[in-house]
């Protein structure tokens, strides 16, 4: 199937991956620099990790961000899965074009527009209904769910089209009601998609700076907001240490998920092969 990779392509791959990874690797190396000036090497040290662990505002921001990320990922996975099901399995329904448009738009919408519009929306809500009383955890989580669910829907749609609907139709033919088909057949088969969707929503939330900056209120600093306020003035060794921890945390999380998904995929293939074997 595949043909030899030409030398040109191999060189491009090497250059491309160097470009992608060298900045991150250097960032990690400099987090172990003793010197207060980030780019000036002063010998190996874990000094800045110590500084990091002693600052309470960093811990507050970490906790707030993790809390938002978990709640966001859970809700975004539920809503995104429903949206994916609606788009792939339900054929034509009223408002499908608008619905599809609203599912795609958050993927490309500049963050400043989404952020500003959600902020003025929350303020108008407060004027009309007196809610949300203050901006922070709730408003950031709602904002994150709104764009994360679109990403989850993309993953779920791909998985749904990939797995076909033979089993669902068979179950329906045998008399299972739509709700039962959904809970007994579709959802278990979707499991790998649900896992990657949840994880993607989790990391998107952990990473968002712009939208959170718009919809947050005084005193509610998420981790990206805290990092941004510090690095605007230049390089900081403690931020290198924090960045290293975040990058390794996410990388390990994603690697574990990738291994699980890869094994699942292999098992799916095996099942399909077994299903095709003639009965003995």
């Amino acid at each position: 199937m595949h043909r030899e990779r030409s030398r040109f392509l191999s060189i491009m791959l090497f250059v491309g991956f160097t470009f992608l990874y060298v900045p991150i690797i250097l960032l990690i190396i400099y987090s172990f620099n003793y010197s207060k000036l980030v780019p000036v090497w002063g010998g190996w040290s874990t000094r800045w990790y110590g500084v990091l662990f002693e600052s309470p505002d960093v811990w507050d921001a970490v906790l707030l961000s993790l809390k938002i990320a978990v709640v966001n990922a859970t809700f975004a996975t539920i809503l995104g899965t429903l949206a994916g099901l609606a788009m792939v399995r339900f054929g034509r329904f009223r408002g499908r074009t608008l619905f599809g448009g609203m599912l795609v738009a958050p993927l490309v919408m500049p963050e400043v527009i989404t952020g500003l519009s959600l902020l003025v929306f929350f303020i108008s809500l407060k004027q009309l209904f007196g809610w949300p009383t203050e901006r922070g955890f709730t408003t950031i989580t709602i904002a994150h769910i709104t764009f994360s669910l679109a990403y989850v829907a993309v993953i779920i749609q791909a998985r749904l089209t990939g797995m076909g609907n033979n089993l669902e139709e068979a179950a329906a033919d045998l008399g299972a009601k739509p709700f039962k088909v959904m809970t007994k057949i579709t959802i278990p088969m979707l499991a790998p998609g649900l896992l990657s969707g949840w994880l993607l929503a989790f990391t998107l939330s952990l990473d968002d700076l712009v939208i959170a900056s718009f919809v947050t209120g005084p005193g509610s600093n998420t981790l990206p907001i805290l990092i941004f306020s510090r690095i605007r003035l230049g390089l900081r060794p403690d931020i290198n240490a924090l960045a290293t921890i975040i990058i390794l945390f996410v990388a390990v999380l994603v690697a574990i998920a990738a291994v699980i998904l890869f094994k699942q995929q292999k098992r799916d293939l095996l099942d399909q092969k077994m299903a095709r074997m003639p009965e003995v």
Binding site: P23, V40, L85, P110, V112, I113, I145, T146, F179, I231
Partner: protein, 318 residues
Amino acid sequence: MTDIGVFKIIPLRIRLAWTRFAGSIQSSWKTLVIWTPFFWLLIFFLAPFFIVAKISLAELVIASPPFSNMVQWVDGSVVTIRLVFDNFIYIFEDPLYARTYVNSLKIASISTVFCLLVGYPIAYGIIRSGPVAKPLLLFAIILPFWTSFLLRVYAWMGLLADQGTINSLLISLGLIETPIQMLYTEFAVYVGIVYTYLPFMILPLYANMEKLDSTLNEAAADLGSGPINTFFKITLPLTAPGIIAGSLLVFIPATGEYVIPDLLGGGNVQMIGRLLYNEFARNVDWPVASAVAIVLLLLLVLPMAVYQHYQAKSSEDT
């Protein structure tokens, strides 16, 4: 069987209510699946745009929130609707805004072209890799996409600074004597956008190339077409949907980018996302910020519609 045993303990009334509830979920299941996310998006995604549009037509007032009310009571009974186009007129008359919009579109387009030039051979190289290397390389492309965007921009601050890695390296090699200013220039913004948006270009290209039929290339080679000719006559046209999807996925968000021009461009590079944020946060002029957002949205509506069209088409193909 134990299910029924447990079930009997529950009072009849609750059991009936539950059956009715389950029944109603069963019967309205489809409506529920569609309308739960639909409703969420209508409220939290669509409705906010109308409020931005409304505020863009309001006046700036010194109050909290800092904009005037569009619907006003005159003489206690008559409702008048006041529309103020001043904010839009202001944006069109002040050359700063026009220049910033043009500059944003320019930076986003050039970055998109560079992303394509770098991303296309990478995607093609992954496609042509062996069965073991392929998933690993793909994973290596996706990984930076999952790790923090903000921190990847920060990593470039360390590379491009006057005392940063690149300048130190060039000085120690004796190529330059004094540091070249790279951080806080337009160059830094280009590097930052290409770097952070590269996975968004590669992934749609890869998805598109995976569907390519390599027998076409072989047929062309058998008929005497050289590799370069084959590439331009067959591969490039067939990957056009991937190129368009990837380019839009880079171009649209890059136009409104805030973090990269702020951190890597400093005050020296004006982009509309940064101007909007400053209008909102520093000048606390929400009506003008809203008008800036509406104009940006209007500029991007066409590319977004094209993207949506391709997205819908590619999901029908599979």
